[in-house]
């Protein structure tokens, strides 16, 4: 009997375990960075006449382009395209369909956060500009994807017209028990020369993702009030990427020192963010336990402006409370997150008629 129940549970859980392929209209592009990595980009042309600039969308850590383009109903990219914005998703190096490390071809570890803002993002921006003909583009980054934009812009990066960051922290030292754990375990487990096997962990845990109502994943990553467990399960299956040890180490430094800085410590991104005068909308989720609101607000305060703060919570009119991943895959994210982001972009450049 127990075996039958377990079998049924596994079968039910596995129903969501297939990868939903990209639709036919998705165009694949692979620009190459100056240090030799091909970066995967997916382009969606706008539905109807263009209403504004192209938008480039970037995922967070241990993730890939599918975070911004999970399926028909959970896709910031396709949502923007359906509103007349050419939309592009990107995978940073060694994630998604971007190049993997290959020493024989000169693509060596370590990969650091600095590679993302120094090489991957500029390459993606230039490619989108060249293909679309736009002089500058809009950008939305989830979690670390927003941090990449902060770092890039703080060091004088150009080509971005308006930016949205979603759940992007600039400090990670908030005195939580998890930090203590990461401080203790992190240096013992993570080395710069490794790729942390996040995908393996995701694959193993994927069938179990819908078994619990209030399990550790719900508590940490998403809120079932805003994202169906089946949606989250699909993200786990094909939206997860291995984590570069060098990136993990650099972010562990942010926890340890309270500084959002380059790997060598010479560049203080947060201090330099005062120089960012590209319009930025900073979106935070009230119950984000990965990037808590003080962590996201810290980045907002550091920005030079113009800037806008948007806290997603029922107290501000949202239909449910959001956690970290709900900002991009939440069932109502199109109305409650994507719409205000698009409005912000439009506000800073009237739509082309």
């Amino acid at each position: 009997m127990k075996a039958a129940i377990a079998f049924t549970l596994v079968l039910t859980s596995c129903a969501n375990l297939r990868v939903v392929p990209l639709p036919a209209e998705a165009e694949r592009h692979r620009p190459k960075t100056s240090d030799g990595w091909e970066i995967s980009l997916v382009r969606y042309r706008p539905t109807g006449a263009p209403t504004g600039r192209p938008v480039l969308l970037c995922h967070g850590i241990s993730a890939n382009e599918r975070n911004m383009d999970l399926d028909d109903e959970h896709s910031m990219a396709r949502w923007f395209a359906s509103r007349g914005r050419e939309a592009w998703t990107m995978s940073v190096r060694a994630t998604g369909d971007s190049d993997r490390p290959d020493p024989e071809k000169g693509r060596t570890l370590p990969i650091r956060f600095d590679h993302y803002w120094q090489h991957d993002l500029p390459t993606a921006i230039e490619h989108v500009k060249r293909v679309s003909g736009a002089d500058a583009i809009d950008y939305a980054g989830h979690s670390m994807g927003g941090m990449i934009a902060y770092a890039y812009l703080s060091q004088g990066g150009n080509g971005l017209h308006a930016v949205a960051t979603l759940g992007s922290p600039t400090r990670l030292d908030w005195g939580t028990g998890l930090e203590s754990l990461l401080r203790t375990l992190g240096p013992k487990v993570v080395t710069e020369e490794m790729m942390f096997p996040s995908r393996l962990g995701a694959s193993v845990s994927a069938p179990m993702q819908t078994w619990f109502d209030d399990g550790p994943f719900q508590r940490f990553f998403y809120n079932p009030e805003s994202t169906k467990p089946e949606t989250w399960q699909r993200l786990v299956v094909y939206g997860t990427a291995d984590t570069a040890g060098g990136v993990a180490k650099q972010l562990l430094e942010v926890i340890d020192t309270g500084r959002f800085a380059s790997f060598d410590g010479r560049i203080d991104f947060r201090a330099d963010m005062a120089r960012i005068h590209v319009p930025v909308i900073v979106v935070a989720a009230k119950l984000d336990r990965v990037a808590p609101t003080p962590a996201v607000k810290d980045g907002f305060r550091a920005l030079g402006g113009p800037k806008k703060w948007l806290l997603i919570t029922r107290a501000n009119g949202a239909s449910g409370e959001y956690g970290h991943m709900d900002l991009v895959i939440g069932e109502r994210a199109p109305a409650e997150v994507f719409r205000p982001v698009l409005d912000f972009f439009n506000q800073h450049e009237p739509p082309r008629i």
Partner: protein, 307 residues
């Protein structure tokens, strides 16, 4: 076994709670409560607890449970004050007076050379800012105490625009939802505690206080004599434990955490989230939630005991 339990119970030092009225120089009566366990409590450095605006002594002692008793059981004498506008004290017409008249008067009445203070929320910011240089204050525990004020949400703004009437929140499902969003979001809170606290543990803000609080949130600072609240708290030097509940919708953590980097003094920050403590801790549940006695109180006791 039963006999042993009875013996232990009989031998346990008795808690005594006394109440006295404190009159301020401008004629407002304040309620001050004292908690002592045993015959010879440590009076040399008592602990003074200050509830937030709209809350009362019940935030620290509700139906026989709460932080006041937990602290008293450590052998310290504990006081809970209801400043003007709170609980059984006289009416309030100005936020500034909570810090510049009421709090110093209470310190005078207690008469201790040194004392530790536990404060919450907006009232906490006021009393700490107005008394930042008082040498009698030794250590401070601040629960979601804002430095850089902002309107927390559209809902909070509406609540204050309508006068901050807690008494109206309990009478309708919509009102109870407002209370939950602002004070008990996703809280691990006994349903009875939630409803009974709303009915008996709160007090309506006066119209001038609701207006002044909203103006403070909108402008980001509160004028105080000589130096503003932000200026005063930005030069804070006393040993402080800043406890943040992520789910606080009335004094949100993002308005409080920044105090750590603005102040030159040693501020320890501890943020609670559901991932590790089982509750994100909102304004009420950080004090009276199911998990507060095991997750929050020990932090406070440990910090205040650490000499």
């Amino acid at each position: 076994m039963i006999a042993w339990v009875v013996l232990v119970a009989l031998a346990a030092p008795e808690l005594t709670i006394s109440h006295r009225r404190v009159d301020t120089a401008d004629g407002v009566a304040l309620a001050l409560y004292r908690y002592r366990v045993g015959a010879q409590p440590n009076d040399s450095c008592p602990i003074l607890l200050v509830p937030d605006l709209g809350f009362t002594r019940s935030a620290f002692d509700f139906e026989g449970k709460g932080l006041a008793r937990a602290l008293a059981e450590t052998g310290r004498t504990v006081y809970v004050v209801e400043l003007r506008g709170q609980g059984k004290s006289g009416p309030a017409d100005s936020l500034e007076k909570l810090g510049t008249i009421d709090f110093p008067r209470v310190l005078e009445v207690i008469g201790a050379p040194h004392l530790d203070v536990v404060v919450q929320g907006w009232a906490g910011s006021i009393v700490l800012a107005a008394n930042a240089d008082d040498p009698r204050l030794r250590k401070v525990v601040a629960l979601n105490t804002p430095l850089l004020a902002e309107v927390p949400s559209a809902l909070a703004e509406r609540f204050l625009l309508e006068g901050g009437h807690f008494s109206e929140l309990g009478s309708s499902p919509e009102g109870r939802t407002v209370f939950d969003e602002l004070f008990a979001l996703w809280a691990e809170l006994d349903p009875h505690t939630r409803s009974a606290f709303l009915a008996n543990g709160t007090r309506d803000l006066s119209r001038p206080i609701a207006n002044e609080l909203l103006a403070w949130m909108r402008t980001g600072d509160l004028p105080l004599p000589e130096r503003s609240l932000v200026t005063r708290l930005s030069s804070w030097k006393k040993p402080t434990l800043l406890l943040l509940g992520l789910a606080d919708g009335f004094a949100p953590p993002e308005q409080c955490a920044v105090w750590r980097e603005r102040a030159p003094g040693p501020i320890q920050l501890r943020t609670f989230s559901r991932v590790e403590t089982g509750d994100d801790f909102a304004h009420l549940s950080i004090l009276l939630g199911r998990r507060a006695p095991t997750m929050v109180y020990p932090r406070i006791i440990g910090f205040l005991e650490d000499r």
